[in-house]
């Protein structure tokens, strides 16, 4: 087994193990921490695919912000949980069956298609400077829209979670 295949197997194991754990644990906090592990594994995957900026952005945003945000939300909605919740709820077989069917369709399509040609392009080396220049010239519109979206989301989330003053 080559080193690249070994690294891929390790990263895939971390990603899938973390994902299964995130969806299967009964304790919410354990589930959120497993999600953080899975996201970190994904960042390692991005690094192995030579998308270094995306890998670090994944750590910063997903592991550093979204996972922590989920933990805070678990903290703020915890008080009334009797303690964990059943994994095999009544709809378990239906949900798992649907997910299995989706995966079967996707896997069939992936394995049956003649994708891009056999030669793998040379490993790209995108510098952050190039990404920044693209973002400021050709992709300036999506950048501004994302800025607007993040502002709106910030304000909206703050208003939604704000404790309302009782009338009078």
């Amino acid at each position: 087994m080559t080193l690249a295949a070994l690294i891929f197997a390790l990263v895939a194991a971390v990603i899938l193990g973390g994902a299964v754990a995130a969806m299967a644990f009964r304790n919410l906090v354990h589930s959120a921490l497993a999600l953080a592990v899975s996201l970190a594994g994904l960042a390692a995957g991005y690094l192995s695919l030579h998308a270094q900026f995306v890998g670090f952005a994944q750590i910063l945003v997903y592991v550093g912000a979204v996972a922590i945000l989920i933990l805070f939300a678990i903290l703020l909605t915890r008080g009334d949980e009797p303690g964990g919740q059943a994994l095999f709820s009544p709809g378990f077989l239906t949900g798992a069956g649907i997910a299995l069917a989706v995966f079967a369709v996707l896997a069939r399509v992936i394995l049956a298609s003649r994708l891009v040609s056999a030669e793998i392009p040379l490993a790209p080396a995108p510098s952050v400077r190039e990404i920044g220049q693209r973002m400021m010239s050709e992709d300036a519109l999506p950048l501004e829209v994302i800025g607007l979206l993040l502002t709106v989301a910030l304000i909206g989330a703050a208003i939604l979670a704000l404790r309302e003053k009782p009338p009078g």
Partner: protein
């Protein structure tokens, strides 16, 4: 060297796991975690196609994923704020009990 198929299958499997969790778990926050896993599977797909595609120097895949990460973070924040607001009203985060549109 793992091929494109390997990464696409990994992304499909991650998507299926996130979908199974989002469909079966009864806590709203766990549904959101499942949705985040699905979004990450799509991002992995984009990066894999960018890496193994014919023109990786064009950077389109990388930029799309950067924007997708930003959008997913904003959506997670708003979704969790919604869950907190609903919890304040229903005193639970169990999706089976959020069954009325007006409070």
């Amino acid at each position: 060297m793992p091929t494109l198929h390997c990464y696409l299958l990994l992304a499909a499997l991650l998507f299926a796991i996130g979908l199974a969790g989002a469909l079966t778990r009864r806590n709203a926050i766990l549904v959101l975690i499942g949705i985040e896993l699905m979004l990450n599977a799509a991002n992995l797909n984009f990066i894999a196609f960018w890496r193994f595609g014919p023109h990786p120097e064009v950077l389109t895949g990388v930029l799309f994923v950067i924007f997708a990460i930003a959008v997913a973070a904003a959506e997670a924040a708003v979704g969790l704020a919604l869950i907190i607001a609903i919890h304040r009203h229903y005193k639970t985060a169990h999706v089976d009990q959020m069954d009325a549109l007006r409070g």
